[in-house]
Amino acid sequence: MEILHALIVLSNFVIIPAIAYGSQLALGALGVTLVYGILRFSNFAHGDTMAFGTMIVILLTWWLQGIGISIAPLPTALIALPFAIFVTAILLLGTDRFVLRFYRNQKSAPVILLIVSLGIMFVYNGLVRFVIGVGDQRFSDGARFIISARDFKKITGLSEGLAIKTTQGITVITAVVIVAILFWFLNKTRTGKSMRAFSDNEDLALLSGINPERVVLYTWLIVAVLATIAGTLYGLDKSFKPFVYFQLLLPIFAAAIVGGLGNPLGAIAGGFVIAFSEVTVTYAWKKVLMYALPENLEPSGLTQLLATEYKFAVSFAILLIVLLFKPTGLFKGKAL
């Protein structure tokens, strides 16, 4: 019984939140890793691309709520998502056309493109703050829980509750579906294969008649889908704040690098590694240990290794360890 309680508390506060957070990071890291693999630069604007996409979702959600459309118990944001992806795609393609293409034609070094992406990041960042403001926005509606702690206790008769939020459920299901579609696209379709070929060996891809501009177009479309969905899921699960999305860049890059830059499978694994590390290191283990350990060994303190304010230190530390000992990441990726 005690062990069961420990497991329930652990699931409720660590495993389920980390799976949801890991899925969001994985989707974000997939976008970063695709840009790195195919366009060959680290896209620092990715966090703010997510913020932009989410902002469009929020604006559309407000409008839809205003005219009374809803798909309760699911959040209204899901209807807004396809339209927001479309708008984000236009923004990304416009940026590519008017900014990045110039540097691509110059065959600029990756580090120059990285700095360019930093500039784009500031522009997107300013754009988002200008339109929606710097404050916290909540836009999650519909049912709050798939199963609430109280219901869980009632059904099982246990004294500890296990809650699964609707947003957590949606996050995991959406992430699985999107990843499945992405891998099918990359591995089975002609266009997807041409993108992998371009990423593998650009010169040979050109010799094979693969049109680089088409590959770039499809890459940005996929990035728009991934970034908008990742941002919206994160916003639904927590809340939307432009600065937080800017900060998300660190765990997302850590996830992509830990998994191996340019390797989609690695990005997913990296997302979960980072999420689980962050959550476990900043979680106060007292309650779990209370149940799991014999009575006399109960900890008197909170047994929290790191305050939640320092959660970014976890991504940083993992990033450093990986770069020092396995620069190509857990899966075979490109070295930085």
Partner: protein
């Protein structure tokens, strides 16, 4: 004599704005024949081939395919015209399977290319066996077969090979040469650069010996092998 099928005529040029590497250099190949470019290190063998494929700027001279002047075309457009090119290095997609490599070779084709793929598998049976294996896991000789197979997927009329036997064992080299002869017999012209001058000239219809970017000797493979000067200077006696 009628005009050769593919000819780079009196080519002069170099990479970018650098110095000229080729000086008035002419290389040509007839339909279904094998032409080999040989010469000492730094003679501009690979450069001559790249010039024909449009990978460097020609100061003067021109490239003609089947009588048509293609000097102004990009390498991609030359692929569409029926030229296949196998670079010396990084000539396969290492992270993709053998079959995907061949599919990418056929990327510009909109028709059904399964017949061509079967022909490639007939030519290189080992590739059929390893079709679902990642090309990066193959041996050097097998990689070259993938590279040649990839280039054949566009059904080119001329195949250009840049040192196809670099870094493979002598046995594999003989086998590769046999396959190249087979390809030529199917009507595809072959233009290749080779380090192994003697073996290459043995299978060549025509040989071009380059020295310092100029044509030093030109003749049939047999003549060059028999030529005293060529033997002394390039074939080790």
């Amino acid at each position: 004599m009628s005009e050769p099928f593919l000819v780079g005529e009196a080519m002069t040029g170099g990479y970018g704005n650098g110095p000229d590497i080729l000086h008035d250099c002419t290389v040509a190949v007839e339909p279904g024949e094998i032409a080999v470019i040989v010469g000492p290190n730094g003679a501009g063998k690979s450069t001559a081939m790249k010039a024909i494929f449009g990978m460097l700027n020609l100061g003067s001279g021109n490239v003609k395919l089947n009588g048509e002047d293609i000097s102004a075309l990009t390498p991609q457009d030359r692929v569409l015209k029926g030229m296949g090119f196998v670079p010396q290095n990084q000539n396969i997609f290492t992270s993709m399977t053998v079959q995907e490599n061949l599919e990418m070779g056929a990327f510009i084709r909109t028709d059904d290319f399964s017949g061509t793929m079967e022909q490639v598998f007939d030519l290189f049976p080992i590739l059929l066996e390893k079709r679902n294996q990642s090309a990066g896991e193959l041996s050097g000789g097998q990689r070259q077969q993938v590279a040649v197979g990839r280039a054949l997927m566009t059904k080119p009329s001329v195949l250009m090979l840049d040192e196809p036997t670099a870094g493979v064992s002598p046995i594999v080299m003989d086998e590769l040469f046999d396959r190249i002869i087979e390809v030529a017999k199917s009507g595809i012209s072959i233009l290749m650069v080779e380090q192994n001058a003697r073996q290459a000239l043995e299978i060549a219809h025509k040989g071009f010996v380059l020295v310092q970017g100029r044509n030093a000797y030109t003749g049939t493979g047999k003549d060059l092998l028999a030529d005293k000067e060529v033997r002394k200077s390039f074939l080790g006696g």
